[in-house]
Amino acid sequence: MTIAGRGAPKMMLVVFATLSLALLAAYCGPRWLAIVAMLACLALSTGLFLFEIYSPEYGFRMPWLQVELDAVPQVWSRGDPA
């Protein structure tokens, strides 16, 4: 399912708006505004990241990454009576 189908995140615009505000305030505005805007940007970015990678089917899992072997190779140690 596409991201838009899950209820579109409209946060990218807000993320970049708060980021721009934070950078402008850091350059020539009050310090508290820069810090508050950057904290908001960090929180929104993290939320948007989690939203983007979440799949209704898999959750946060990545089942296409298989690290288990399909069949256990038949390897015996030296001295194994089998």
């Binding site: 990218m12 980021l19 850091a26 310090r31 820069a34």
Partner: protein, 192 residues
């Protein structure tokens, strides 16, 4: 070396370090914009979040040159480097196994695609901060304003970074409008 010069040297080295890092971030963000506007490679949502993280690293540096040294500024930069690492590692793992609808976005540079480069960049930023702290510490950096010459240069680079950020804001408005971002085109220019 007298005591005054000896105490000033770590602060100057720290200023040089911060300026070099901001210049590097500015160069990377500029290259991303060139690939986007000249190469026609429209960024995906995770790519945009990686740009946000790089701007976040610059934020700590801008704060340093405006308000003086604080470990909090470096901490902010490292926090955003960590965000960059998280996003880029996840995106690399999303696209590492070719399957329908999932392949690396954009062209490869020196054989590595953009999210893989972001992993390298995030590791380099964190390593650079770690080396800086290991060599310079922070006891000689407190209560020392940035050197005037480097401060002036940093102001220019800061302004450039802010302009790049505002261009990205405009680009996001064109690409996404107030909806989800897609790589198929610029929504407000008639793309899907």
């Amino acid at each position: 070396m007298n005591k005054r010069t000896g105490a000033r040297l770590p602060a100057t080295l720290n200023d040089l370090f911060q300026l070099a890092m901001m210049l590097t971030m500015a160069a990377i963000l500029t290259a991303a914009m060139v690939l986007q506007y000249d190469g026609g490679e429209i960024p995906c949502p995770l790519c945009l979040l990686q740009r946000v993280a790089m701007f976040g690293v610059c934020f700590g540096i801008i704060m340093h040159f405006r308000h003086g040294y604080s470990a909090r500024n470096d901490g902010t930069g490292m926090l955003f480097a960590l965000l960059l690492m998280m996003v880029s590692v996840r995106q690399s793992l999303l696209d590492i196994y070719p399957r329908p609808g999932h392949s690396y976005i954009g062209s490869a540079v020196l054989g590595l695609h953009m999210p893989v480069w972001s992993v390298v960049i995030a590791m380099a930023i964190l390593a650079a901060f770690a080396i800086k702290f290991a060599i310079l510490g922070d006891e000689h950096l407190r209560d020392r304003p940035p050197s005037p010459a480097l401060g002036r240069l940093a102001k220019l680079v800061s302004l450039y970074v802010i302009v790049v950020c505002l261009i990205n804001l405009g680009s996001v408005i064109l690409q996404c409008g107030v909806d989800a971002c897609h790589t198929s085109g610029y929504r407000l220019l008639g793309g899907s």
